[in-house]
């Protein structure tokens, strides 16, 4: 294995584990901040001390998660500069604005109002305190917006012009960043945080029920958590559908990988339960699945909202075949053509640089023209074969199903909890139901992380779709430095995670012994 491949693989692994760790804390911040704001709003309206106690309890857990999670994302920015320098230079103008706004908003808005949230009880007016709580929640979501806009641009790069002198993509339309992919991604990610927080609140509250402590507080919290979580989950599913439509339009290879689909059809079914055939390649005649239970026309409905629409498979995309809404076969750009265009674009960039050094304006103009004509497939020029352009099908396929199955479970979970808490006393009486709720909590994190895996593994081999693959994005650094920092980082974040969980558990146990009702 070449040193470059080792650098790429370890850099990818390091970035993945950093992002996974970071996302352990973020969705709980996004959702629990809103739950706390809702409870405080109820307190202000009812003046009931019970709601004040509930607000303060969940606010403390929010604070623990916020404190442990703060700055975990900064490591990702460090990695951009060290491991991914080609990528960060290439995209700098596009990433710079959203990340700068995120940093400024995160620092000023959240940290200002989070201080009022915790220090301001009895020092500021109740209305100002409530406003601060809502603004903390809003600040967290606005921070997430900028990160997700930047990530969405990686999936669908728009609103820029490549400058071969600066070697950067220069933003020429800021508002283009708010594409359909960005908007769906933002709402999908934030609302999934709402669902996660709902599960967390229910799980912790069920621990109270199991211990038979502060039962009234627990039931009150479960009601808020369940309604909030249900709303979050329904909206997450709605935006998930929107995301599928956008992925079908702009990243058809990702959708094909999510389905393990190699040869598409009109009225394409969706593999509800399936086992992929490990021998299947895009250019052989093996069956796609060893076993499949399909939902007829499901993928056409999901991807194009048209039960008879054609959904291309991996082989169709590579061969440049599509079928339009009228049923006509149309040719898109095959991968062989894209590789040829990409090589032309890269060669033009090389000759542009040489001409610039030689001061040959005519040659510069000629190279620039060729570069612009072929730039949209610039990244394909790095591939020796089309196989390099196919994402990891197995992992994308499995992660998609984990996300959907768990998401569906939690939809039923919220409905069941609401039924039990309003119509019966089953939740208070049954230890095994309380245990199901508690054990469900980590699975919501699995669901959430699986969603990110679909988005980011399905994006491979691209760091910027069609323009820059991972092989070209990494810095020319020794593999050993990446390996060392990987393990260093893994150790530090594991320690942080253990610290959070133990502080959180200790706090929950300590608070449970106080009167919260």
């Amino acid at each position: 294995m070449s040193d470059l491949t080792t650098v790429v693989d370890w850099s990818r692994l390091q970035f993945a584990i950093t992002a996974i760790y970071h996302w352990l804390f973020v969705p709980l911040t996004l959702g629990l901040s809103v739950i706390v704001a809702i409870m405080e709003s109820i307190y202000l309206k009812t003046k009931s001390e019970k709601w004040l106690l509930a607000t303060k309890f969940w606010m403390r857990l929010f604070g623990i998660n916020f404190a442990i999670g703060v700055a975990t994302g900064i490591i990702l920015e460090f990695e951009f500069g060290t491991n991914w320098s080609n990528y960060s230079w290439f995209v700098g103008d596009i990433f710079g604005a959203p990340l700068a706004i995120e940093g400024i908003l995160a620092f000023f808005m959240e940290s200002t109002f989070v201080a009022v949230m915790f220090f301001g009880w009895n020092k500021v007016s109740p209305r100002f305190h409530l406003a601060s709580t809502w603004l903390t929640a809003l600040g967290a979501s606005i921070s997430a917006l900028w990160i997700l806009v930047a990530n969405a641009w990686m999936q669908y790069p728009v609103g820029m012009e490549f400058d071969p002198d600066q070697m950067r993509n220069v933003m020429d339309n800021f508002w283009a960043l708010f594409s359909g992919i960005a908007i769906n991604k933002f709402f999908h990610a934030v609302l999934s945080g709402w669902a996660l927080s709902g599960v967390f609140v229910i799980g912790v509250s069920c621990w109270f029920l199991w211990k038979k402590r502060n039962v009234e507080f627990a039931i009150r919290s479960i009601k808020v958590g369940a309604w909030f979580g249900l709303a979050g989950m329904l909206l997450t599913m709605y935006t998930g559908d929107g995301s599928a439509v956008e992925v079908t339009k702009h990243q058809p290879m990702k959708l094909a990988a999510m389905e393990g689909l190699y040869h598409g059809h009109e009225g394409q079914s969706l593999a509800a339960v399936a086992i992929l055939n490990p021998d299947k390649e895009w250019d052989n005649d093996e069956d796609e699945y060893l076993f499949e239970i399909a939902i007829p026309k499901g993928l056409s409905i999901l991807g194009r909202h048209d039960m008879n629409a054609f959904i291309p498979g991996i082989a169709d995309i590579i061969n440049g075949v599509d079928i339009n809404a009228e049923g006509d076969t149309i040719n898109t750009v095959s991968y062989a053509e894209r590789i040829a265009m990409g090589k032309k674009a890269q060669n033009a960039l090389r000759t542009y640089g040489e001409a610039r050094e030689a001061g040959d304006s005519a040659a510069m103009a000629s190279s620039l023209k060729t570069l612009k004509e072929n730039y949209r497939f610039f990244g394909y020029g790095y591939f020796k074969s089309v196989n390099e352009a196919i994402p990891p099908v197995g992992l994308t396929f499995v992660m998609f199903r984990i996300m959907v199955v768990l998401g569906s479970y939690f939809l039923l979970f919220f409905i069941a909890v609401l039924f039990m808490v309003y119509r019966t006393t089953l939740l208070q009486r049954s230890s095994w139901i309380q245990w199901i709720a508690m054990v469900s909590v980590p699975f919501m994190w699995v669901c959430s992380e699986a969603g990110w895996a679909v988005a980011e593994v399905g994006r491979q081999p691209w760091t910027v779709q069609d323009l820059l693959p991972t092989i070209a994005s990494v810095s020319a650094v020794p593999a050993t430095s990446v390996i060392v920092t990987f393990w260093l980082f893994a150790l530090i974040f594991t320690v942080l995670l253990v610290a959070e969980v133990s502080i959180m558990c200790r706090q929950i146990s300590k608070e449970s012994k106080k009167a919260l009702s």
Binding site: L4, R60, G63, I64, A67, I68, V70, A71, I74, I75, F78, E79, G81, T82, N83, S85, N86, S88, W89, F90, A115, F118, F119, G120, K123, P164, D165, Q166, M167, R168, Q346, N347, L349, R350, G353, Y382, L468, I471, A472, S475, A476, V477, S481, V484, T485, L488, F489, I492, L496, A499, I503, Q507
Partner: protein, 78 residues
């Protein structure tokens, strides 16, 4: 009038200072969290950033032209 403005600004700043001072002083579990935050920030920004995560392009090249030339070479010779 100016002295009144200065006086009220100074009082305002003092109130903000006391708000944070008493807030931090009265923390319970917050103290542990702040210790964790400060240790974490030290490790991230002093240990990790300075020793293990130098910015590759800033460390190895003096100006944007050199960085752009390096990236051009990298992207056209991979």
């Amino acid at each position: 009038m100016i002295s009144r403005i200065i006086g009220s600004s100074a009082r305002g700043l003092k109130n903000i200072w006391m708000f944070y001072y008493t807030g931090f002083r009265e923390m319970t579990v917050g103290k542990t969290l702040w210790i964790i935050i400060l240790i974490k920030l030290f490790i991230f920004f002093i240990v990790m950033k300075m020793l293990f995560f130098p910015n590759f392009l800033s460390s190895n090249f003096d100006n944007d032209k050199e960085r752009a030339d390096h990236v051009r070479h990298e992207l056209t010779n991979r």
